[in-house]
């Protein structure tokens, strides 16, 4: 004030002349903002909400555009790479067809438990010396180092003579470390104390025929046994059936986000119509409608979700997505209806609405001008918070095997599959769980931001 040089000074002639209307300075006032403009400015200022909005857009791109960029069939199995974590080596050596084993060994003089030839994912061939006390042997395979007192792992097979001292394992071999244990058996097939363990890491191999069939090499390439090839790329690894995780996550996103957005949209819409009808009509209609809503709220959600699923009778080839959406809409609308009704009742009692009504405003005008703008914020926020809870519900139901039917991927059903192999292949659980969490997080933060931006009370307080 003092630092700005005044244009009129005390000693200036005419300083004390009355001001004429046109000489008066325009009163500085802030430009008035509409409700939505103001809300948008507040939302933009909220970094977390804005970040969430970008995340949601990215998720939608991942879902819609992703499958066009990453054109891998989510149902196709890559049997060479089962339960492969992301970033695993893709190198494989070409081999010929598997030859039967006649017991020959490359290391005839070696004592103790050893490999007859280098271990491959085709076969692991174990040899050991006969033990005098044994009348047979049992072979175990474990994925953890064998510790005293701990389980030995998967029993692979028994032999029934002291001199049957070889074993060939061809069961679902992966290029990872296995711990084989041979235990001596007595005449009754009971385990004796003597045992011996061996750590084996098979090399990944692929037969030339397979490589040709999968398009890894072309016939013209003229590759030989022993050459190395690179297997198909799976950026996020594969699941327990060798299906590409990325492709499944993208297609699963379609299912999860479809349910997560379509169901809330529908039940919020129904709730809004129902609640505003009750609130607007009032009286006995309102009482009757709300009593019914109360009863629907009281229904055991899980039971009815499952009953719906059974009632719809999901046949083979059906995904079970629509029954789930329908069940959610039928069971979840009352919360919104209550909220909207309360809001409508509140707005109806406001002075400005009474005033408008006294001035003879038609009902349509009241609804358009006062009811909808004053409930829109609440509805929008409800919708935003309904999305994560619907995604949760889908995940939860699919997780307990009551949701989306396999083989249709959804994030929840992927979690369900992933949790079985959680200890050994955590990536099968982590990726879908992560996506669920990020999506829910983003919608929650966006909902928070929207609520803060739309809440008029907050505005006056700050």
């Amino acid at each position: 004030m003092a630092e700005t040089s005044p244009t009129v000074t005390l000693n200036e002639p005419g300083a004390f002349e009355p001001l004429h209307a046109e000489q008066r300075a325009q009163v500085l006032s802030r430009p008035s903002l509409s409700y939505w403009q103001d809300a948008w400015i507040r939302l933009k200022a909220n970094r977390r909400a804005l970040g969430s909005l970008y995340i949601i857009i990215a998720l939608l791109l991942f879902t819609v555009v992703g499958p066009f960029v990453w054109q891998v069939d989510p149902a196709a199995q890559d049997l060479d790479q089962i339960s492969t974590p992301p970033g695993a080596s893709r190198a494989a050596t070409l081999v010929g067809p598997l030859q039967p084993w006649d017991g020959s060994t490359l290391e005839p003089d070696r004592p103790g438990l050893h490999l007859a030839e280098p271990a491959t994912t085709q076969s692991v061939r174990l040899l050991w010396d006969p033990w005098p006390e044994a009348y047979g042997y049992r072979v175990y395979r474990n994925i953890f180092p064998v510790a005293p007192g701990e389980a030995l792992g998967l029993p692979m097979g028994d032999t029934f003579a002291r001199d049957q001292t070889r074993f060939e394992d061809r069961l679902d071999l992966q290029p990872r470390t296995y711990y084989y244990t041979v235990v001596a058996l007595d005449t009754y097939g009971e385990e004796l104390d003597r045992q011996e363990s061996l750590e084996v890491t098979p090399n990944r191999v692929i037969t030339i025929d397979d490589a040709l069939a999968r398009g890894l090499i072309a016939p013209a390439d003229d590759r030989q046994v022993g050459d190395s090839v690179r297997l198909a790329l799976h950026p996020l690894g594969t699941d327990y059936l060798g299906r590409d995780m990325l492709a499944r996550l993208m297609h699963g996103a379609r299912v999860s986000l479809f349910i997560g957005i379509a169901a809330p949209f529908l039940f919020v819409l129904f709730g809004v119509v129902y609640g505003s009808t009750a609130g607007f009509l009032g009286g006995h209609v309102d009482q009757a409608l709300m009593r019914f809503a109360d009863f629907v709220i009281a229904l055991p959600f899980l039971l009815f979700m499952i009953l719906f699923k059974i009632a719809f009778g999901i046949g083979p080839g059906e995904s079970g997505i629509m029954p789930m959406v329908v069940a959610m809409v039928v069971l979840l609308w009352p919360a919104t209806a209550r909220l909207v009704r309360g809001q409508i009742l509140q707005v109806r009692e406001e002075g400005y609405v009474s005033a408008a009504r006294l001035l003879g405003a038609p009902t349509g005008y009241l609804v358009m001008r006062h009811m909808i703008p004053n409930t829109m914020g609440v509805i929008l926020v409800t919708l935003t918070f309904a999305v994560p809870s619907a995604i949760f519900t889908e995940a939860f139901l699919s997780f307990i095997g009551m949701g989306v039917a396999p083989p249709t991927p959804s994030w929840g059903s992927m979690c369900n599959e992933g949790i079985k192999t959680m200890l050994t292949y955590p990536h099968e659980l982590i990726f879908p769980a992560l996506l669920i969490s990020i999506t829910v997080l983003a919608f929650n933060l966006l909902g928070d931001g929207l609520r803060d931006a739309l809440d008029a009370r907050m505005r006056s307080r700050e």
């Binding site: 004390f16 001001l19 300075a25 009163v27 500085l28 006032s29 200022a45």
Partner: protein, 347 residues
């Protein structure tokens, strides 16, 4: 002149909001004498509540901020710490009551307990003794069946009763000053008079000073000894109640008076209420000159460009208005003191 009980000088308070910084109080000074009532008058948003709440340390900081100023209680600075010798002066030296008694009391605690709390904290009384005194205080505040009422919760009281309870609470420790922030605004007209009477009687009995915040000139006329008229964060006129009412020296005071219902007919024999046109300036960007210039019917060229200083009409009566400058034209109805002078200090 004896030392004033409370002396506030050049208080400036700002608020940071997402729309910018609001200069809510822009250099307010006043003094309160023992046993006297100072009324601070002004329309909503003029900074009158912020002024006392800042002194009482009730302004949330942030977003609030005290730029400058001082507030001395018996000569001891209390601004920004609200304590003397490590003991809180609030409730003990200065009691306070608020506009909305319905929301100003804790809904989950009995009235008696809430009053007794003050005595427990400040005077270290036992719970029993403090509660008994609370019952007495409620009786002093003319609440019938005080002993039973003290055990009730706020929701069982009417608005007027709650305000009495608030008053009982605020005077529990016999403070030297009672700050009443719009104490009657939320109440029925008939209750208003009773509350004001109660405050007046208690003042006579205890000799406490009252700072009364209000927008109601009727309340001012009834209660006040001294009046400060606030506009856009500044005191634009201050003086004794007679000075301000009968020798109004600021166009805004004139405007307020014209907007007040009265029994006296105007020159044309009509009872007319004249609103003040326009709205107060935006305190995000306070005007360079006089804040009232945009609404003032007598605005002059200088008013827009230079902030008027305080022109003293008499020793204790001043107005911030260029119309008191010697070269300014005369305005009908505006008192112009014979010895109108501009003090050197407040240019």
């Amino acid at each position: 002149m004896s030392q004033p009980l409370l002396e506030v000088s050049d208080l400036r308070v700002e608020f940071d909001t997402y729309g910018g910084t609001v200069q809510a109080v822009r250099g307010v000074s006043f003094a309160v004498e023992p046993g006297k009532t100072l009324a601070i008058v002004g329309e909503s948003g003029c900074g009158k509540s912020v002024t006392v709440q800042s002194i009482m340390g009730l302004t949330p900081m942030p977003p609030g901020r005290i730029r400058t100023g001082s507030a001395r209680l018996r000569g001891v600075e209390i601004l920004g710490r609200t304590e003397i010798d490590g003991r809180d002066i609030r409730g003990r030296e200065i009691g306070m009551i608020f506009q909305d008694p319905m929301s100003s009391l804790n809904p989950t605690m009995t009235i008696g307990t809430q009053i007794a709390e003050t005595l427990e904290v400040h005077w270290g009384w036992s719970r029993k003794r403090a509660f008994d005194r609370a019952v007495e205080l409620l009786g002093m505040a003319r609440i019938p069946e005080a002993a039973r009422r003290a055990r009730q919760y706020p929701f069982e009281f009417s608005g007027g009763m709650l305000q009495r309870a608030m008053i009982a609470m605020s005077i529990a420790c016999e403070p030297a000053i009672l700050v009443a922030d719009e104490p009657t605004t939320a109440l029925d007209v008939t209750i208003q008079a009773q509350i004001l009477d109660l405050m007046g009687d208690l003042q006579r009995d205890t000799g406490m000073a009252i700072i009364l915040i209000t927008h109601d000139l009727g309340v001012v006329a009834r209660m006040a000894d001294e009046v400060a008229v606030m506009y856009a964060g500044q005191i634009v006129e201050q003086g004794s109640v007679d000075d301000v009412f009968y020798r109004s020296a600021h166009p805004y005071t004139l405007g307020l008076k014209a907007a007040m219902p009265s029994n006296e007919p105007d020159a044309e024999g009509k009872h007319k209420l004249l609103p003040i046109e326009g709205s107060p300036p935006d305190l995000f960007h306070p005007p360079v000159g006089c804040a009232y210039a945009a609404r003032c019917p007598h605005a002059m060229r200088i008013c827009q460009d230079q902030d008027p200083a305080a022109f003293f009409q008499s020793e204790h009566h001043f107005a911030r208005c260029w119309l008191h400058h010697e070269t300014a034209p005369r305005v009908e109805g505006l008192h112009r003191g014979a010895a109108a002078r501009q003090p050197e200090a407040s240019a």
